[in-house]
Amino acid sequence: MTASGSIGSHDHDHEHDHDHEPEAAHVIEDDAGNLEGQQMIDALQALLARKGILSAGEVTLEIQNIEAPGTHLGARIVARAWVDAGFRARLLENGKNGASELGIKVGEAQLVVVENTAEVHNLIVCTLCSCYPRSLLGQPPSWYISKAYRARAVREPAVVLAEFGLTLPPSTGVHVHDSNADMRFLVLPLRPPGTEHLDEDALSALVTRDSMIGVALPLERAPA
């Protein structure tokens, strides 16, 4: 994919309603690009190893570390908050401490858990780059790091949500969290209706990655 439009320097001041060239389409590597990337990082890693700065073994271990987290960890936290009001309160007070109660270690400075209610729906974005609770949820989806999402989520969140298939009632306020500094965010979705009989494991199966970012609701029943 190639970028569309011409993007000049953005050093001058703008009014807020100044019309920019729309942000470029998401750049996806093709096979040649992936090969280039692989060769380049292999070269950099070999060079750094030659200089004694790191070793291939350490890189392999670190790759395992970053592959380990995922939706399942966030889902466990959400499911526990749904069944345990005390845990829920502690989680909302301090997300990192809450997670550690379940043996889940959050690596970032702090995890702020924001709860959806009948009145409020939360949405997470990082307009400046791609900040995301990676130590908990793993790597963010491509669309989260796309310029289109980063540009539009803070300006027209309801339109963005509708594009994801989520229409909110007019009485529900949208709270958008631009994750631009040291905090990382997790949405605590509303427990789906008709799930009173489900245990924690069954509940965690309803919690999707997208519901913890805020572009979707959790499932109402587990996938078959």
């Binding site: 807020h16 400075a109 803070v154 300006r155 306020g173 958008v176 631009d178 500094a181 040291d182």
Partner: protein
């Protein structure tokens, strides 16, 4: 680190405005909130200034970080869907000034 932390200046609920410091280099205060008014939603703690960290300077001092809440109708006049829509963002102490009164 020898310097004392920058003192906390704001409490939850305080009305504030975001400065435009005109700084080059790595800043974590997005353009779209500069000169906008909001209110302190949460105190996040003390952190090293990313502007200095980006240059490899880890000497400090620690800076207070707050989550600030902005009304969408104030950020995007004429466009916001609802009075109940808000934008929350983390802002470092030195990017804020007090903004008492409705039109300060």
């Amino acid at each position: 680190m020898t310097a004392a932390p920058i003192p906390v200046r704001y409490r939850v609920g305080d009305p504030v405005a975001v400065l435009d410091l005109g700084k080059a280099g790595h800043v974590r205060t997005p353009f779209y909130v500069r000169n906008r008014r909001g209110e302190i939603a949460q105190f996040c703690g003390y952190f090293l200034n990313p502007e200095a960290l980006s240059l490899g300077d880890t000497s400090g001092p620690l800076v207070p970080l707050y989550r600030v809440r902005f009304a969408m109708k104030d950020l995007w006049p004429g466009e916001a869907r609802s009075d109940r829509d808000f934008l929350y963002m983390e802002i470092y102490d030195h990017w804020l000034r007090p903004a008492p009164g409705p039109h300060a």
